[in-house]
Symmetry: C2
Subunit: 270 residues, 2 copies
């Protein structure tokens, strides 16, 4: 805690256009790397940084996100961009299912570019910057070896797609299977079923890193797990689930869970 | 799977009054021990057995509970005893947060005792048998070293008490802290806050194995974690949370989470 505070003080002493990296470094706690992003749009830029690796210190901040833009934007547009561009992504991110008491996402606009984008363009740029930071956060999650992107489509509603994406991304059995590079169709179907979403089991398809692992609710004929397991040995793995209900879609961001998560959260008192 | 099936066949070959233990043994999959119980009440008995250690095989059964009684009971009374005596306990039990597709709890009554208990007495006996079996299930949970009993009282409603008990029992950060024998007040307060229940932070008290760890929302003055940590090194640990809202109470049953949970669920494909 003392380290973080003096880090912030030292970053404050370097206030200036080049201080961003020092700030991103200073706000880290258990983070192994700094997380920064910059998205160029039509005449304006959205930049940002974030810290967060787990709910390791619930009496301190666990997820802090600072987004800045040189766009000209009214407060209402900034709120819209945060609500529609940033919130859906951060709210679909899980490391350990333990939400924090004090997560913070800020968006600051100073108008320095002189460009006033449409609220849609601003929201889109904020969403792209947020996706970049969220991917960096899950890659640096406590004890994680692989980031997991869960894409759900074909749900009967957006809410159902959200429920499936969050349940799959948060499932301990999927997280440990990803850690073990085990393409496990049964665990995917179990999580879809436990989500509470409406679905027809015989209409579910799923892919891991592009490989089909569930076809119409069943393991594909002649399924060979070996190439899928090899494809899972990557910095990030996309798990796609398609239901046969409608056009609802959602994406959740997670990570695997391995021995280091247990070590970090059991061996040291916080 | 083949082992379990031939186990059931061999148990079936031994049908008789002494076959209960063989049946309880035969239905095990990853269970390390058989779980059996018997509760004597006023002139009748409730017996039972269960299997379950985690959602390790979602294409097979993961939690099976068989309760029997020699009480005389109408189908409606048996349903009431299951709903009020057994369901609240099984529905507040978590090993890894991954609910199964095919959990089963059966209660069979043959009337052999000739005693017809009140529905309240039957429900009470079923509840005591269920508590015994549930405690055996969490003690045998995959990778667990300690069973965790979360008792919540003082909540504004039963639903709020349920939410707090389930969130605390299911929290990865609390499960890993219990594995590390780390009395961690911050993680308890985080889970209470994340539960969605109404509560006043300054009115929360908590105890681990009878030791106060939160007093009116704060770590007690002169708090010494060492004796609490020693008390946590036991086959089961009671974590009590008292809110200052009302008279709602609930109990959830869980366990710690250690390296062996990760090993069991990542190293072997199911």
């Amino acid at each position: 805690m003392r380290t973080a505070v003096s880090g912030i003080e030292s970053a404050a002493a370097q206030l200036g256009t080049a201080g961003g990296a020092a700030f991103a470094h200073a706000i880290r706690t258990t983070d192994r790397v700094s997380k920064e992003t910059a998205v160029a749009s039509d005449g304006f830029t959205v930049g940002g940084c974030a810290k967060g690796a787990g709910m390791i210190a619930p009496d301190l901040a666990t997820l802090l996100v600072f987004l800045t833009t040189d766009a000209v934007a009214e407060p209402g547009d900034v709120r819209t961009a945060l609500r529609d561009g940033a919130a859906p992504i951060w709210n679909n991110l899980t490391v350990d299912g333990c939400s924090s008491t004090n997560d913070t996402v800020l968006l600051l606009a100073n108008g320095a570019s002189g460009v006033r984008p449409s609220v849609g363009a601003l929201t889109d740029a904020v969403a792209r910057a947020t996706e970049d930071l969220a991917a960096q956060v899950v890659s640096d999650a406590e004890g994680a070896t692989t980031a997991l992107v869960v894409q759900v489509d074909g749900a009967g509603s957006h809410a159902d797609a959200q429920a499936v994406a969050r349940t799959v991304a948060g499932s301990l059995l999927i997280k440990t299977a990803v850690f073990g590079r085990d393409p496990n169709p049964g665990r995917i179907l179990q999580a879809v079923g436990a989500s509470g979403a409406a679905f027809e089991p015989d209409a579910v398809d799923a892919w891991i890193a592009g490989h089909p692992v569930v076809e119409r609710g069943r393991v594909p004929g002649g399924f060979d797990p070996a190439p899928v397991a090899r494809a899972m040995d990557a910095p990030d793995v996309v798990l796609r689930v398609r239901l046969g209900e409608g056009s609802g879609s959602a994406t959740a961001f997670g990570c695997d869970l391995g021995y280091d998560y247990v070590r970090i959260n059991s061996e040291y008192s916080t």
